[in-house]
């Protein structure tokens, strides 16, 4: 069986409200799951719990059949999380920022890695900004630098929280294309977005909150 991620009866209270009520789903290799819901319905909360950077009041999350608390190291190695905050250093340029992500995911610093990074940036039409500190980039350009990780880190599970924020049309198409390739290579994607999403050749499952 190819079941990668399993979320069992996750329940979260916020104040006096039941935000997430017995949420459960499974995500297998080759699947895309879009979590949908109005503003404030708990999408971000759920995604953070899945990644292990948020607390649930009840319920559990399993990765490859094991609870993520005991299996954190393996999950971390196979996960790519892109949240509301992109994790990009304003003082560093795109290449330096991506070098860090490469290093964190175990890629040696080398000219080969640098070439990969440059290709990824070219792919996102950021070649001419590759040496500019990221704080000078526009909102959409910063988001693109963060998205370049999709090309560099080899993770099975992508958890993307509104990855399309501030992207223009070309950026949107790029993300859809990446998702479709990732899934056809056997990866899994868990995402939220308020924009209409069209991933070629894949049915996007949805989970309504």
């Amino acid at each position: 069986m190819n079941e990668l991620l399993k979320v069992n009866d996750v329940t979260v209270w916020r104040g006096d409200n039941l935000l997430l009520d017995d949420v459960h789903f499974a995500l297998n290799a080759g699947q895309v799951l879009q979590v949908r819901g109005a503003n404030g319905s708990g999408k971000t909360t759920l995604l953070r719990i899945v990644c292990g950077v948020g607390f649930a009041d009840e319920g559990s999350v399993q990765w490859r059949g094991e609870s993520i608390e005991r299996n954190r190291h393996q999950l971390n190695n196979e996960l790519l999380y892109l949240g509301h905050k992109p994790g990009i250093k304003g003082a560093l340029n795109p290449i330096e920022n991506l070098r860090i992500f490469c290093a964190l995911s175990g890629l040696e610093a080398s000219t080969k890695t640098d070439d990969l990074i440059k290709n990824a940036l070219a792919n996102l039409s950021l070649s001419d900004k590759a040496e500019l500190p990221c704080r000078f980039l526009s909102a959409g350009q910063q988001r693109r630098v963060a998205l370049a990780r999709l090309l560099l880190q080899h993770a099975y599970l992508w958890v993307l929280d509104e990855p399309l924020t501030s992207l223009d049309k070309a950026g949107l198409a790029w993300v859809e294309n990446q998702i479709s390739q990732h899934v056809s290579n056997g990866g899994a994607v868990l995402l939220t977005t308020h924009a209409p999403l069209q991933v070629k050749g894949v049915t996007v499952n949805t989970l309504e909150l």
Binding site: G52, V53, G87, I88, K89, A91, A103, L104
Partner: protein, 221 residues
């Protein structure tokens, strides 16, 4: 480790303020003291060891406030916590870079400031050795405080509050080592004590700080 170290180094080099400023702060505070206390060379040389050490402590600890804050607010900390690398090692690399850029320049500048405060010149080597051992320990201790207060507003001052009590032993041994040397006594006992504190801090601080960090990240929204 090497790579994390390089990363920190390159971030820091982009921000020359990070290493120039603690040094300037040290200089400025040391200058303020004579202005507050009065210019009598007699009084100054009595309180010189204390003033130098208290200022060094403040300079190191205050510049530590930003150790994890930038990483927290831009989301890097989440990514570090989610990476396959060991968090204590990452913390250690950050602290070492911080020390190289803030503790080390203090160390190199301290002889001049000692002279400004009329510190007898035979105490200068002890001053430097004590600052070497002490500022390293302080950086490690400060990292625990910075990790505990990550993501809180006004963390800077709260941090000092958490960290200052922990750093009192360092201050006491450090300044009394210098005072002993200034009075022509042996200071080896105090220096050994500083060394012991450093070893303790080296073995405990990265672990404690990384625990605190993991917790700070999950608390965020």
């Amino acid at each position: 480790m090497r790579c994390i170290f390089q990363r920190e180094w390159s971030v820091a080099m982009r921000n020359p303020g990070q290493w120039v400023n603690p040094l300037l702060f040290f200089i400025v505070v040391v200058t303020l003291f004579p202005l507050g206390v009065g210019p009598s060379p007699q009084t100054l040389s009595t309180i010189a060891p204390g003033v130098l050490w208290v200022s060094a402590l403040l300079a190191v600890l205050l510049s530590l406030g930003a150790l994890f804050d930038a990483d927290y607010s831009d989301g890097t900390l989440e990514q570090l916590a989610l990476s396959g690398q060991s968090l204590p090692v990452i913390v250690l690399a950050k602290v070492l870079v911080h020390w190289l850029l803030s503790g080390m320049p203090l160390l190199l500048m301290s002889p001049v400031l000692g002279l400004l405060l009329n510190l007898p010149s035979q105490a200068i080597p002890v001053l430097m050795v004590s600052l070497l051992l002490g500022t390293l320990s302080l950086s490690l201790i400060g990292a625990i405080g910075a990790a505990l207060t990550v993501g809180l507003n006004q963390a800077g001052v709260l941090l000092s509050l958490l960290v200052l009590p922990l750093s009192v032993p360092v201050l006491i041994f450090g300044s009394s080592a210098v005072a002993a040397a200034a009075g022509d006594f042996a200071a080896s006992g105090q220096l050994l004590a500083l060394l012991a504190l450093l070893i303790l801090a080296l073995s405990l601080a990265p672990l404690m700080a990384s625990l605190a960090l993991r917790n700070g990240v999950s608390g965020g929204t």
